[in-house]
Symmetry: C2
Subunit: 199 residues, 2 copies
Amino acid sequence: MSELFTVPARKGRAARLTKGQAIKIINTHGSQVCDTWAFSAEDLKEFLSVEHMRPTLGSIYPKKGQPLHTNRRRPILVLEEDTSPGIHDTLIAACDDYRYGLLGCKEYHDNCTDNLMAGMRQIGLTPPEVPSPVNLWMNIPVGADGATQWGEPVSKPGDYVVLRAAMDCIVAMSACPQDILPINGKQGVIHDVHYQILG
Amino acid sequence: MSELFTVPARKGRAARLTKGQAIKIINTHGSQVCDTWAFSAEDLKEFLSVEHMRPTLGSIYPKKGQPLHTNRRRPILVLEEDTSPGIHDTLIAACDDYRYGLLGCKEYHDNCTDNLMAGMRQIGLTPPEVPSPVNLWMNIPVGADGATQWGEPVSKPGDYVVLRAAMDCIVAMSACPQDILPINGKQGVIHDVHYQILG
């Protein structure tokens, strides 16, 4: 049984994967969005890029079995398993201090952008930029007129995804601290996410 | 009458705007997609960021009258006028040499990423990264299941947008050289785009 690691509620973590290894990211409480990034271990300037992924997939978010592409149009991860209904988001930037300011916060609010930087720093790395993440379990319905909605996750407790590394890479995760909008459930309670490294 | 400048078919250009000035970008031939970027003149690390714009607008693309936001969540441009039906794209990365390789090209193909770099270089600047652009007149319908389609522009010859600068900035444009997919019309003919600077 692989060790179970925690992404603490409102915080970020990063993990190294060698090609062929996988990371299982578990929505333990069912309603928690997990912002997810991936960077090539060989060159951090190559990273999972949702805007480069979409034209190759022909979809705004990846489905089970599909690859996730980098800004050099190469698969970096494959979404090998997904026990949830498969609703994820790639449209919305990681939240940041500016965002919480616009939402009325007067004091610092934990945010996914700083969590990415902190999670990477914990393993000795600094990302060259903050790519737009794959927001696992985030539910952003898009209307025919292009309007987006702040949905609640449709996942259930224990749902997980398995992301298999197509190259040596670093996967960073943030247990999104958004407690103003309903994206982590109407109650706005932020939970831990868990992960395992699979051989 | 303001001078009429050309973004040559398949090429890129950049223009400086002071706060309060505007750029009128003209789809002279009606079917030409124009990838568009904006960078703060004060700090090129602040730029129009579609993933930061969407959550503030609640829409995947801006409508007439709406601001376009930076990665610091500030308006950099306002879409003041739009004579077209208002269908634009923010989902698809600028095309690049990798992309044309995947589409079967064996030789170099003009591309919007290199056009951004070249257009900026012509005015002495180097962007710190390649943000995902606002693709004016690009028509990418999104299905309820998240699937995207390669639509044709719904604009007509002479349609234009006016983008008013909310801060001193540089606007870069590429007359998208995509002639394999139908995004510039089924004929795959790439045309000039024109622009004027308005006081």
